[in-house]
Amino acid sequence: MALLLAGVIGIMVACSAYLLLRGESFPVVLGLTLLSYAANLFLFASGGLALGGAPIIGAPGAGEVDPLPQALVLTAIVIGFGMIAFVLALVLRARGDLGSDRISEGQGRE
């Protein structure tokens, strides 16, 4: 199970890195979103993996579940949305003001 999760995180990070290196704004935002998924999973995994439990007092297997990373990731998910929204707003603004969504060499510096 751990190997599987680690592999999946690796694939996500690799794909997001590739997207971040693209020359247009939209794929970069896709990459950023994918990266935040991967980061959340990574952070979540730092608490160890437990199957079929819940961090709720009295629930079966509650003693195995680490609640702290979960709390951290929960807010990270919502903040991630805020961040993506802001970056997308910037993408729109850049397109509106510069007339293009290219962000590679020769763009942005007039």
């Binding site: 961090p55 919502v78 805020g82």
Partner: protein, 942 residues
């Protein structure tokens, strides 16, 4: 006054100038003349407060005030008034008061008096803060405030480029020194085990034996030397003379430049007495004393002469403190008093001369005696004090200085050098003092001046008169005037009873007396041959310029920084991202190469569910990357990843996360689709194959490192170590069965508060980025099929409306149960937003806003306020910020209901989330409406 109220007077003295500074700005709008009276009044009150405290302090007691501020950092708001601080405080406020009077007559009517007075008051407060601080960290804050107010005052005439230039130089030097001082103070505090002055002063042995003593000493001295204009940091001070003359007189001769000397005196008991102290401080002081005394003679500008003379006298005080002997300290402190008195007076006299004659150039000025005999007399008295003529105050401390140089034994066979150098410096001081008087007031008839001079108004002369009188009174009756103040200050510096010393004018024909006579004679001789010296100086010592060196240095630094930036920032995101990823690769990969052994156990049993989830996420991610040029497809693929993550959370015992991720997934997808509406459907340009290959290689590397790190982390599986605490305390401390929720709203509530603040900021920033945006909207898709003409299909509108109450019910349910079961403010907020957004999408922004009259920012702000107030409520009950409380309520019909204060906090979270999400999405939606030319209802126009 009762001794018990002393601290109140002390606090008033420290705070009043700060409170008065902004008021001065307002008063001046009313009437210009008023502001001088006001500032003067403040000065009088503070001076009186200090005087009432003086008797007790001079008697050896000290007045103290201690308020904890950030105890964990060792920072306290603590004020101390002992002999040393009393002396400096009286100088700062007393001379400040005279400056306030002088300024009123000095400043032309077209200059902003209010700003000048406000800044002077600000400076007075900061300087008082330095000398009254009982905590070194607090001292440092005031220290930086003096640098800032000095910057603003030097650049007072903002329209003049040289004023701005000089202000920048002064700020760079003094604030740079402040940084060094910060490091020095931190080291001293660490060694002493605390930052209060008492603690540090009590730790002499520990600090001097510490291996880091020398670095700490050097850093602290850097702070003091830059502030007090010691060579080689002196050049900012003459440059600062572009400031209005009252500023030069106050900050750059009497007060601020004394801050460095004050620091040396304050830390004298801890730092002095070692070889390092002696060589560093004496070396710097001696160089400064000689060098600046020499240069002063060659300055043709009156203020330039006085500036270098100031540097030289500061060097003298530094030198005296460097000796590390009790008598050296006495002489140094005595000279601080004398110098402040005669130099402020001379600066003000120079200001009068400039004002009346229209120039400060001694090559043009002459014969002013005929026009302004009173001013001339006053200036002569002060200049005599500067030269060290008997019966004037400067003489007394200079004699003590000469006597001290004779007694030094540190230099061994070269001991005779010190008295020689002291006499030479004394001769130059006499020479430039004579020049100041003779060149300006005599030496010609005063016919060809730019203006016809006459005596200035009485009240412009009065401050000069007060100080000149003091020069004489202190010079003739030292025992009756400064003796008690000096004794109190010396006691505080030495932390011991003062040594035997005599303030008498006449000690008989001693060696110091001989040195004085030699210096006088030498000085007059130097002045007599000055024209030949000027010629030699110009010939062999071409325009000496530490300033030029500094400018070239800063220019080089800026050019280097520019080149570095241009290399890194070529305008393309690609380069930054690549740099970041390579860094991550190196940092993350190095432990792997560093011999981290990977363990590969036999493949474990993996359930079918887990396998499918992993497959979903991995293929979704790969599809997103592969199809990114078909943007809509990529968004769909990305949402597959999100869905997979939801499943992963659900399977791995994180129901709260699964719920939240699910809800956020919905709004994220809506967000992407809305944005995609304004962007091209495809990415037209394709990077070269080589570039794509390189990118892919780098990405694979980064992915591999991430996978290895994740794998290692999972194998170690230490958990956070805090979990047991949270699990055990959740029910008793927070009353929550859902531990994640307890952490969010109670244990780590402060974090959550920070996070919802971030959300609010994101909403604001998004709003700002989209406000007034105009975009060209595509009317058709890439194949030329036009978009649907009907933006709000009836079927969609009709089916979504009943969904709203249902969704709200789910949200309320999740909200209420959050404390015990998966749910809570975050997820309820996102679900509510999703339901609301659906209405916007299906029925239109106009329709929805007519029915939902809600200002997003009111909701966000209200939510934040509610969350903060909940936390403050706990504080009112004497508990730490955001401690959760519970109350049992009997509600008719429902029976007993337990209410948690955390629920109010959760409601705040809920409001912020709803406000943020709806604000962002509806603005995006509205953008499309505006583009489509739809007429918005009136309230939309805002």
């Amino acid at each position: 006054m009762e001794p018990g109220h002393h601290w109140l007077m002390l606090l008033a003295a420290a705070v009043l100038p700060f409170a008065a500074a902004p008021l001065a700005l307002y008063l001046a709008r009313w009437r210009r003349g008023l502001v001088a009276w006001f500032a003067g009044g403040v000065g009088v009150v503070v001076f009186t407060a200090l005087l009432t405290l003086a008797p007790a302090v001079v008697g050896g007691a000290s007045v103290a005030l201690d308020w904890p501020w950030m105890p964990s950092l060792g920072l306290e708001f603590s004020l101390r008034l002992n002999g040393l601080s009393l002396l400096f405080a009286l100088l700062v406020v007393g001379i400040g008061l005279l400056i306030f009077v002088y300024t009123h007559y000095y400043l032309p009517a077209d200059k902003p008096a209010a700003r000048l007075y406000a800044l002077l008051l600000l400076f007075m407060g900061s300087m008082l803060g330095i000398v009254l601080s009982g905590n070194l960290l607090l001292l440092l804050m005031f220290w930086e405030l003096t640098s800032v107010s000095s910057f603003l005052l030097i650049g007072f005439e903002t329209a003049r480029p040289e004023a701005r230039q000089a202000a920048r130089t002064a700020l760079i030097i003094t604030a740079g020194g402040g940084l060094a001082l910060l490091a020095g103070i931190l080291m001293l505090g660490q060694m002493a085990g605390g930052y209060s002055v008492e603690q540090v002063l009590g730790a002499r042995e520990v600090i001097q034996a510490h291996p880091l003593y020398v670095p700490a000493l050097v850093l602290t001295l850097l702070g003091a030397f830059t502030k007090s204009g010691q060579v080689p940091f002196h050049f900012w001070l003459p440059e600062a003379m572009v400031a209005p003359t009252p500023v030069s007189a106050y900050l750059h001769s009497a007060a601020m430049v004394k801050a460095g000397v004050y620091l040396l005196a304050l830390l004298f008991p801890v730092l002095s007495g070692t070889a390092w102290w002696f060589y560093l401080v004496v070396g710097t002081g001696l160089t400064t004393l000689l060098f600046a005394a020499y240069i002063a003679l060659f300055k043709h500008d009156l203020k330039g002469l006085l500036a270098y003379s100031t540097v030289s006298h500061l060097g003298l005080v530094t030198l005296l403190l460097g000796f590390g002997t009790p008598l050296g300290a006495v002489a140094g402190i005595f000279h601080v008093i004398n110098h402040a008195i005669f130099k402020a007076s001379l600066f003000m006299a120079a200001g009068i001369i400039d004002h009346e004659a229209g120039t400060r150039d001694m090559r043009i000025l002459n014969g002013l005696w005929r026009f302004m005999p009173y001013t001339a007399t006053l200036a002569m008295i002060s200049a005599a004090a500067m030269a060290g003529v008997p019966l004037f105050n400067g003489f007394l401390s200079k004699e003590m200085f000469f006597a001290e140089t004779v007694h030094q034994q540190w230099l061994g066979a070269l001991n005779w050098l010190l008295p020689l150098a002291a006499t030479a410096a004394g001769a130059f001081a006499v020479a430039y003092s004579v020049r100041f008087i003779h060149d300006v007031f005599f030496n010609g008839s005063g016919e060809h001046l730019p203006k016809r001079p006459h005596e200035p108004p009485l009240w412009m002369k009065a401050p000069v008169g007060v100080l000149s009188t003091l020069c004489l009174v202190v010079g003739i009756f030292p025992e009756a005037t400064v003796a008690p103040l000096l004794k109190g200050a010396v006691q505080a510096v030495l932390q011991a009873p003062p040594p035997e010393y005599s303030l008498r004018v006449w000690h008989g024909f001693t060696l110091p007396m001989t040195m004085s006579v030699l210096a006088m004679a030498g000085g007059v001789l130097i002045y007599a041959v000055r024209h030949r010296l000027f010629a030699l100086h110009d010939l062999y010592l071409p325009e000496y310029s530490a300033t030029g060196l500094f400018r070239r240095g800063t220019a080089l630094l800026l050019a280097g920084a520019g080149a570095f930036t241009r290399t890194l920032d070529n305008g393309a995101l690609h380069r930054y991202v690549a740099a970041l990823l390579v860094t991550a690769l190196v940092l993350g990969g190095s432990p792997i190469l560093d011999g981290l052994v990977l363990t590969f156990p036999s493949l474990e049993e993996v359930g079918a569910g887990a396998g499918v989830t992993a497959l979903l996420v991995a293929s979704g991610a790969l599809a997103t990357a592969a199809m990114h040029r078909h943007r809509l497809v990529a968004v769909v693929a990305l949402s597959l990843v999100g869905l997979g993550v939801v499943l992963a959370f659900a399977g791995l015992s994180a129901p709260d996360l699964a719920l939240t991720q699910m809800a956020v997934e919905i709004v994220t997808t809506v967000l992407f689709l809305l944005v995609l509406y304004f962007l091209p459907q495809r990415t037209a340009v394709r990077a070269s194959l080589r570039r794509r290959g390189l990118d892919a290689g780098l990405s694979l590397g980064v992915g591999a490192v991430a996978a290895v790190l994740a794998w290692e982390m999972l194998n170690q599986n230490g958990g956070s170590g805090l979990s047991d605490y949270f699990r055990a305390q959740s029910l008793p401390a927070s009353g929550a069965e859902n531990v994640v929720n307890a952490i969010l709203v109670d244990f780590r509530g402060f974090d959550t508060l920070g996070e919802i603040t971030v959300l609010a900021v994101a909403a604001t920033a998004t709003y700002a980025a989209l406000y007034g945006l105009r975009l060209n909207l595509a009317r058709a898709d890439e194949r030329g099929r036009s978009w649907s003409a009907d933006p709000h299909p009836l079927v969609l509108a009709m089916t979504t409306r009943p969904l709203l109450p249902l969704a709200m019910m789910v949200a309320v349910y999740l909200f209420l149960r959050g404390h015990h079961l998966p749910g809570g403010g975050f997820v309820a907020g996102v679900i509510t937003s999703a339901a609301l957004i659906l209405q916007y999408l299906a029925s239109g922004v106009g329709w929805t806003r007519q029915r939902l009259r809600l200002e997003y920012f009111d909701v966000i702000g209200g939510g934040l306020l509610l969350a903060v107030l909940t936390g403050v409520g706990a504080m009112l009950g004497g508990l730490p910020f955001l401690t959760s409380g519970a109350a049992q309520l009997q509600v008719p019909g429902l029976g007993s209901v337990k209410l948690y204060s955390a629920m109010a906090f959760e409601l705040g979270v809920f409001c912020v989330v709803v406000g943020t999400v709806v604000c962002i999405l509806s603005w995006l939606g509205r953008l499309s409406l505006e583009q489509a030319g739809a007429v918005l209802p009136r309230q939309e126009a805002e």
